[in-house]
């Protein structure tokens, strides 16, 4: 199934599953956020990071 970046099904369903209420303004803001963030999130999820293990509790003050 083709990935969807449409907000009109994903957002209401997601909110309903969490019991979060939203008015029209909330939905408009969320739709704009979704349009901005979702396509690059899908790209990120497809990014090849095979062989890259996340650092457990990285010390960000130092080089890895």
């Amino acid at each position: 199934m083709e990935a969807s970046n449409r907000a009109d099904d994903f957002i209401p369903a997601g909110l309903a599953s969490l019991g979060i209420e939203a008015d029209e303004v909330d939905l408009a803001v969320m739709g704009a956020a979704h349009a901005m963030f979702w396509p690059p999130i899908l790209e990120l999820l497809e990014l090849d990071t095979d062989g890259v293990d996340a650092e457990p509790a990285p010390d960000l003050s130092r080089a890895p």
């Binding site: 979060i20 969320m30 999130i41 990120l44 990071t49 890259v52 960000l60 003050s61 130092r62 080089a63």
Partner: protein
């Protein structure tokens, strides 16, 4: 010239030498805030009696008697932070934050609280529960965010130094828009205690905003709790990338930054090397995902159903949207963090600093923060995060340095270095100042252009 127009170090030196009376300087700062602040809305609260008490009890120190502003992100013993918002998702209370203690112990006088973008959520500074701060260079333009007030306060010469915080560029963006020098320290190196996200954030640091690098060195030393010793950046190896961060940039910004990089190379007797640093856009998104996930601490569906109606529609909608972010993306973001940290460790074996524009265009209008780039029109936030997130994601230090003007607004170059090399960035910034005759650090929005005299 008023002592308030001296540099931060100049004020400290003059007070120590008995040439300037600290009590008079404090009163003068309060008067200047009263006169100039209405036009820029940089300072959202003053507390003259608290400030006078701080001064009366100030120990000898590197900032003895020097007035400073602190961002509304840091609690004070008499005031909880409001984070620029009508409602926060974390519990807060008045307390001694790390930056407060550092300033107090250095003898500084906190003269006011600086405005900030609501919940720290934008690079523009155009939204705040207090109303937006305004850019002293042009009060219809964004001052940058989220440390909008600290930057506007220094650029308007209300004070010579201010403390901000940088979770995704929030010191560097306002420094760039307001023509200041702003340091994002190595993660964990600067005072962070008392921040409402100190226990969960892996991106936020406190940082100084000042007119130039020497002042950032002084205020940074106070925040670090150690002396940031000066070097000379001789033989600086400057890395540049051929990527969106350096190429999808307004032509005037690109030209000024290219000239600055060449000037820095010449001044340090160094060299410019082209480097490979792939997946920068993924790194920017990873930073946003991690920072927003960490900011969810304190959120719950029931809490989201009881949001303060005074919270902006953007903050309300985005808080709810955060709940829908897929966990797999955050896991992937952590993998990208590991990947970029390893790549940077390798890059920093070949270069000392990586240079690209802090922001790809000058400060946009407050009412419509959009920027025109070669690729088209973007929101300022979309464009700005590209070049800023990497330092927060990986923990490396970064500095924004003014390098020119375009449309009569400041242009800035960002330099990034390896972990713990904050001092090198300050050295490089000072070398750049020498190279251009301090032309840009001394082109702070000058007094004759300040709001009280322009009628803005």
């Amino acid at each position: 010239m008023s002592a308030l127009d001296l540099t931060l170090r100049g004020q400290a030196t003059a007070i120590a030498a008995g040439e300037v009376d600290a009590a008079e300087l404090l009163e003068e700062a309060l008067e200047r805030i009263a006169a100039r602040n209405p036009a820029v809305n940089a300072v959202v609260e003053t507390f003259p009696e608290r400030s006078r008490q701080m001064l009366a009890e100030a120990p000898p120190g590197p900032l003895h008697g020097v007035p400073v502003v602190i961002k509304d992100e840091w609690p004070l013993p008499w005031r909880a932070q409001r984070f620029g918002a009508a409602q926060m998702f974390a519990k807060t209370a008045p307390e001694e934050s790390g930056p407060y203690r550092a300033l107090r112990d250095a003898g500084a006088t906190i003269v006011g609280v600086g405005n900030m973008h609501e919940l720290g959520a934008s690079s523009t500074g155009n939204l705040s529960v207090y109303g937006p701060a305004r850019n002293p260079w042009n009060t219809e333009r964004c001052p940058g965010g989220s440390s909008s007030g600290p930057a506007a306060a220094v650029a308007a010469r209300l004070v010579a130094g201010a403390v901000g915080a940088d979770g995704i560029g929030s010191v560097r963006f306002p420094a760039a828009y307001c023509g200041l020098t702003g340091l994002k320290p190595t993660f964990g190196r600067a005072a962070m205690g008392g921040h409402h996200m100190a226990g969960v954030s892996t991106t936020i640091v406190s940082g100084p905003l000042c007119a130039d690098a020497a002042d950032c060195r002084l205020l940074g030393s106070v925040l670090f709790g150690e002396s940031l010793k000066a070097g000379d950046a001789a033989g600086l190896r400057i890395g540049v990338v051929r990527d969106t961060v350096s190429e999808d940039v307004a032509p005037a910004v690109r030209e000024a930054c290219a000239e600055a990089i060449e000037a820095l190379r010449a001044e340090t007797g160094g060299e410019v090397r082209e480097i490979e640093l792939a997946d920068l856009e993924a790194a920017a998104l990873a930073t946003v995902l991690i920072a927003n996930t960490e900011a969810m601490a304190g959120l719950s569906p029931s809490r989201l159903n009881r949001l303060d109606p005074e919270l902006s529609p953007i903050a309300r909608g985005f808080a709810k949207y955060r709940m829908l972010l897929p966990a797999a993306a955050t896991v992937k973001a952590q993998e990208v963090r590991a990947l970029m940290r390893r790549r940077l460790a390798s890059v920093f074996e070949d270069v000392d600093a990586i240079a690209w524009p802090t922001v790809p265009a000058v400060a946009p209008p407050l009412e419509a923060p959009l920027v025109e780039l070669p690729s088209g029109t973007l929101t300022a936030d979309q464009a700005n995060v590209r070049g800023a997130g990497l330092a927060n994601l990986t923990g490396i230090p970064a500095i924004s340095v003014p390098v020119g003007l375009a449309e009569d607004l400041p242009v800035a170059l960002q330099l990034q270095a390896a972990w713990g090399r904050d001092e090198l960035l300050l050295d490089a910034a000072e070398a750049l100042e020498r190279a251009n005759g301090r032309r840009w650090v001394e082109s702070l929005a000058p007094p004759e252009r300040q709001p009280e005299t322009t009628g803005a």
